[in-house]
Structure formats: structure tokens, C-alpha cells
């Protein structure tokens, strides 16, 4: 099981409970075996889909096949450490407004699994430390 989790807050809704991203062990194994494409492959797909959502044509949206295939055909980036894999996941699965914009306090943090409280009531009152 992964050593890490990512805790993050939604900048537009700081009153909401902190969210906890849990990695798949299968995905981590692939990342550490060097099977991932460059992160830009996913960003390109996300950008195209967001544009379709913004323009109200998402219900019939199809990715450009040449961009979509890069998930499988782009040169692999090489083996990652578990820590590097977690940083990759932040950029892949967490909205860019959380990690790409500078705020007056951190909006996400990679933490050890045992640091995440299992008690929901406690976690709901959580706020990211500086």
C-alpha cells in the first residue's frame, strides 16, 4: 500500500472539508516501473475537454485521436520514485487551480498515510497548516 496521500483544499470553497487523494497501488507500480507518458499528454487532453465543456458541446465530445493515442505511444518518462510519482499525480488528478496558482497559504500537501485522520468529524474541521 502507498506510503503517501495528498490532502488538498478547494481554493474557491475553503469552508469545505479537506479532500484526500488516494493513489492506486497498480498505478504506482506502473509509475515506478517507468510506464508513464509525459504529464503534458494528459494536460493536452484535459485542455481540449475543458474547452468542449465551456462551449457546451461535451455530450458529443471526442478527443483528437492523435492526441489521445499519445497516452500509449508517447515515449515513456522513465522510472519514478514513490515521491516523484505522488508529485506526478498531483499534476494529473488534482485541478490546476489548486497547485498551479499561488495563494497566501498552501492548498495541498503530500502527507504520510498515517497522518490522515480516520475520524470524519475531526477531518471535516481540518485546515491545511502553513
Amino acid at each position: 500500500m502507498s506510503t503517501y496521500r495528498v490532502v488538498y483544499e478547494e481554493p474557491d470553497h475553503p469552508e469545505q472539508p479537506a479532500m484526500v487523494l488516494v493513489p492506486s497501488d497498480n498505478w504506482l507500480a506502473d509509475a515506478m516501473a517507468g510506464k508513464l507518458p509525459p504529464i503534458s499528454v494528459y494536460w493536452e487532453l484535459q485542455d481540449d475537454e475543458q474547452k468542449a465543456i465551456d462551449e457546451g458541446r461535451h455530450s458529443t465530445f471526442k478527443h483528437d485521436p492523435s492526441k489521445w493515442e499519445k497516452q500509449f505511444t508517447a515515449p515513456r518518462i522513465g522510472k519514478l520514485t514513490e515521491e516523484e510519482a505522488m508529485e506526478y499525480l498531483v499534476m494529473k488528478d488534482i485541478p490546476r487551480r489548486v497547485w498551479a496558482v499561488e495563494y497566501n497559504r498552501p492548498m495541498f500537501k503530500i502527507v504520510k498515510t498515517e497522518q490522515v485522520p480516520s475520524n470524519r468529524q475531526f477531518r471535516n474541521a481540518w485546515e491545511m497548516a502553513q
Partner: protein
């Protein structure tokens, strides 16, 4: 282990109908600290708050017209009558994209979002 690479699978008899395989599956525990028990083509599951999850796929679908099914179960359900306040949940999905789907678990009795012991997801699409 060997890998079989094909573009289409069709039935060998009875007219050769096309067979569609699941592209994404995931089972996770939503109560306490979220735990992914097993998955295929899933990079992460995010605990978004009580009874709210987002499943992110390792690789995206090629189009937005995918089939997604979610279900939820308690820890000790043996029949309908055995469900109680902590075990009976309904589940539904939010606005999905080609790379993720929000999933919700709701207490059957009072309609509030609530964590479930057993969450399941399966997605089918052309690519």
C-alpha cells in the same frame, strides 16, 4: 504472463456480435480512511467529503459517451431486511468526463450523503 493485443473481440458463433470489455473498474472502502481494494485503469480515488468520491482513470476514454455504473453495499447485508441505518445506501454518479467520474453514496433512510463500506464502479466504452 502474456498480453493479448487486439482491436476488436467478436463472438465466434451466433452471428459474431461485438463484445465490449470493461475499461475501468474499482472497488474501494469509503468508511474510515478510504482504501482502494482493487482496480483496473484507475490512478486515484479522492475522498471529497462525506459520501463523495472522485475516481480518476489512468488513461482517458476517447469520447464522453461512456457507460458508467456505480453501486454500494454495507458490511453485513445478507438480505434486504438485514439493512439498517448504517448499511443501506444508494449510489449515483455526477458529471463525468473522459478522465474521471464523481460518485456519491447516500443513506437510504434519511437521504443524506454518507460513507459506504463497499463502493464499486465499472465503466465501458469503445476506447
Amino acid at each position: 504472463m502474456s498480453t493479448l493485443k487486439v482491436n476488436n473481440i467478436e463472438e465466434a458463433t451466433s452471428g459474431g456480435g461485438k463484445i465490449f470489455l470493461s475499461r475501468v473498474w474499482c472497488n474501494w472502502k469509503g468508511t474510515g480512511t478510504l482504501t482502494i481494494r482493487g482496480d483496473g485503469n484507475v490512478s486515484t480515488v479522492t475522498d471529497m467529503g462525506e459520501g463523495r468520491y472522485t475516481v480518476n482513470y489512468s488513461n482517458s476514454f476517447s469520447s464522453s459517451s461512456t457507460y458508467t455504473a456505480v453501486s454500494t453495499a454495507g458490511a453485513n447485508i445478507t438480505d434486504y431486511a438485514s439493512q439498517d441505518d448504517t448499511d443501506d445506501h444508494n449510489s449515483f454518479q455526477g458529471n463525468k468526463t473522459t478522465s474521471n467520474v464523481p460518485v456519491f453514496s447516500v443513506d437510504h433512510d434519511d437521504g443524506t450523503q454518507d460513507d459506504a463500506f463497499n463502493m464499486d464502479l465499472i465503466c465501458v466504452g469503445d476506447e
